[in-house]
Amino acid sequence: MEPILQVQGVSKIYGNGIVANKNVHFSINAGEIHALMGENGAGKSTLMKVLFGMEKPDEGKIIVEGTQVDIHSPIDALKLGIGMVHQHFMLVPSLTVAENMILCDEPCKGPFISMSEAVAITEQTALKYHLPIDPRARISDLSVGMKQRVEIIKALYRHAKILILDEPTAVITPQESEELFVQLKKLREMGHTVIFISHKIREVKELCDRITIMRHGETVGSYDVDDLSEEDISGLMVGRRIAKKVDKKKAEPGKAILKVKGLYYGLSENRLLLDNVCFCVHAGEILGVAGVEGNGQRELVEIIAGLREAEKGFIYIENREVTGRTVRQIRDAGVSHIPQDRLTYGAATGSTIAENLISDCSGNKQFHNGILYSKKKISEYANKLISRFQIKCDSEDTPVAMLSGGNMQKVVVARELRSNQKLIIADQPTRGIDVGTANLIHKQLIELRDQGAAILLISADLGEVMALSDAIIVMYDSKIVAYLKDVPSLTDKQLGRYMLGVEQQTEEQIREVFDDE
């Protein structure tokens, strides 16, 4: 059978030099649900953006129904029958369903938009594809699942024969997912083709006919889903990794510093992002949190750091409850936090290095002469940190925006790791930075561990988690699914199976991570 869509040798290099797609080959048959799987940063989203005309490929061909095409914009893509449902919906919340449907293509009566016709169009389309919706409902009043349905109907109304769904189940409830699968299967029966991007192997096994797996910007291969076991898929996604080696002594865990007990988040939205999370981190120990992004790690970190409020559950620092306290109080209790998004939370890029280094202790006496700041004392302090963390810069008065990403991260890390913190939350501490800086940060973390700090390390980089951690918990689907104490004998394949939800430990095993004295 002639494939409906073929991608041949597509490469995409972004302006900042990141190679997102490298010689990608990929073909889809008409009337199938085709899964596209891969880790974060494997290049799935870039490939889909190329197909939908949002990014221009630097090399390669796209062939739709036998003819080679150039797709310059989403409008081109729609003309070719390619529609996309983004993870973050592209809908106008203040307008109704019908108004969103006809946007850009308004049916008119004279100079006025004909609302009755818009409603009729929406109803017809909804009926035709068995996707019931109220055309007069305002988008902002709809649930996430219904918004997704509007996006699908909208794409179908524009005559999309190939539907791209970018992680559709990441944002909706399990019940809504079930319903979505039924609808997608119906669409397949009607002859539509679906490209389904997901991290969840179980969903892919349930729904899809064929699967293409991507790794590091390349396609690993395409397979019939029935030919692969869940283990096979996770193995192909993770691949073989060169383990990072970090010199460190065996950990000597002391008393529990951080205790998280029965933490819940997302109850009000009926979509749990944290589901009864319990664990402890001890003094002198690095606890790694492994898991595909979006399984609750971000919420967990933000709640412990005081940026978000838990809906249920307790957090203790050295047996003192800090649940719901302000960031100030939590920081004063000895917690520091390396945020994953350094440009948003980690730094004020317009301010100088010195100003960034004192942001969390600006009222500290050590910077003052009487009530006024002493420029000299601040400079001395900043320069000490600049040399300890080898920040490359003109002076402490250089705006952070002038620094490279690696040096920017060093500023963040320098501020957070400078003194005797009791707990360090390191959220993706080395993402997107050079190897030298990453090594420096790893060394500092281990040094602080040896001095008795408790460290919670969250990382999407398996190599980093395995090299640094003394114990690992794995998060999947908002829960802790594994507690792994014996890190050296762990393989990334094993870890991968937990991360992708193929395997899960028993309750007893998981409970061990929470030792409530």
Partner: protein, 358 residues
């Protein structure tokens, strides 16, 4: 030369260029519309410095707007636009007059009570829109803009029903006793001790903004509020305090003006000091240390235009055009520097990825 140096020079040069362009355009307009352009130009450029009285006139204008501009330096550093300064300067002037008329005694203590009392009330008023913004996510700009009119009409009500002198020809308050008004320090002008107050306020606010953790935290919120929150800065507390300080300073601008010139309070419309304050603070880049120059410059061209109006055939409105031009260019400068920023960040990322590739 460090990067920071380059940046500083860059922004100074850009401000100067926009001022020069605006002035050149003003001269062109004068040349086009006037029958005696040299006379007009002369009055415009040298007028403010041609006599002590005229120089005094310049300072008289500079004092209240300097205080209002200081208020803007504080509140706009939060990167949240509250425009309550206009209403506060009006209300502050009215309340100070009311205090003087109501107090049974005169002299230094009466003046102090009038200025500080009015300032404290206006500080609370100025905090209202900020509270609405922080607690209920109200639009700060709209809330503060509207509150200006509430203050105007509330003030007019107070004036008409409690302090209006029915025997005076126009709407005005009763006369304040001479001893309760600010002391004149330059003869033949209305320059009073208000000048000293304004200078002291500038020094204090400069120190607060540049040398204390309060000022640092205000700027941190303005620079990246998420980062400020993450660093443990209480956005609510600092923003509220900054609004209180802003309201106090604006009110002081109005009060100083009312206790300097006329013995009667005669404003029946918003005086415009708040708006001028925003204009001047913008030229100063919201930095108190640049403020004296910016204030004197605007006062200079205002006074020059006024003198030109009186001694030639060119109308004083010309200066409004010049000001508008300058603000346009400076605002455009802001736009350019944003692009510059993006370029820098991009460059930094590029460098990082190069390092990563090595």
């Amino acid at each position: 030369m460090t990067n920071k140096r380059i940046n500083q020079m860059f922004s100074m040069i850009k401000t100067l260029i926009s001022i020069v362009i605006a002035m050149i355009l003003a001269f062109v307009v004068i040349l086009l519309v006037s029958n005696e352009p040299l006379n007009a130009l002369n009055a415009f450029v040298t007028g403010p410095l041609s006599s002590l009285r005229r120089f005094g006139q310049m300072l008289e204008y500079a004092i209240p707007v300097a205080l209002c501009a200081l208020a803007v330096c504080v509140t706009f550093s939060l990167n949240m636009s509250t425009v309550i300064g206009e209403g506060c300067s009006f209300f502050g002037g009215l309340l100070a007059t009311a205090f003087i008329l109501q107090l049974g005694f005169t002299g230094f203590i009466a003046k102090t009570i009038a200025i500080v009392g009015a300032g404290l009330i206006c500080a609370l008023v100025a905090a209202v829109p900020m509270y609405l913004k922080l607690k209920f996510d109200a639009d700060l700009f709209v809330a503060s803009l509207m509150l200006n009119y509430v203050l105007l009409y509330l003030g007019l009500y107070i004036l008409n029903y409690h302090f209006r002198d029915p025997d005076y020809g126009m709407t005005a308050s009763y006369e304040m006793p001479r001893e309760s008004m600010l002391t004149n320090i330059i003869p033949k002008t209305s320059v009073t001790t208000g000048l000293i107050l304004a200078i002291v306020a500038m020094v204090v606010i400069y120190l607060v903004m540049d040398k204390t953790s309060f000022g640092y935290q205000i700027k941190l919120i303005g620079s990246n509020s998420k980062f400020a929150k993450y660093s443990g800065v209480s956005i609510f507390r600092i923003s509220m305090l900054a609004s209180l300080v802003g309201g106090f300073l604006s009110s002081m601008g109005g009060a100083v003006e009312c206790l300097s010139r006329n013995a009667r309070f005669q404003w029946t419309a918003l005086p415009g000091y708040g708006w001028d304050g925003i204009l001047i603070a913008t030229i100063a880049g919201f930095k108190p240390k640049n403020l004296p120059l910016a204030v004197l410059f605007i006062a200079y061209i205002r006074t020059g235009a006024d003198i030109m109006n009186r001694s030639s055939d060119v109308a004083a409105e010309l200066v409004t055009v010049v000001q508008a031009l300058m603000i346009l260019l400076i605002a455009a400068k802001g736009f350019l520097s944003k692009a510059q920023q993006r370029l820098i960040v991009k460059n930094a990322k590029k460098l990082a990825s190069l390092e990563g590739a090595k």
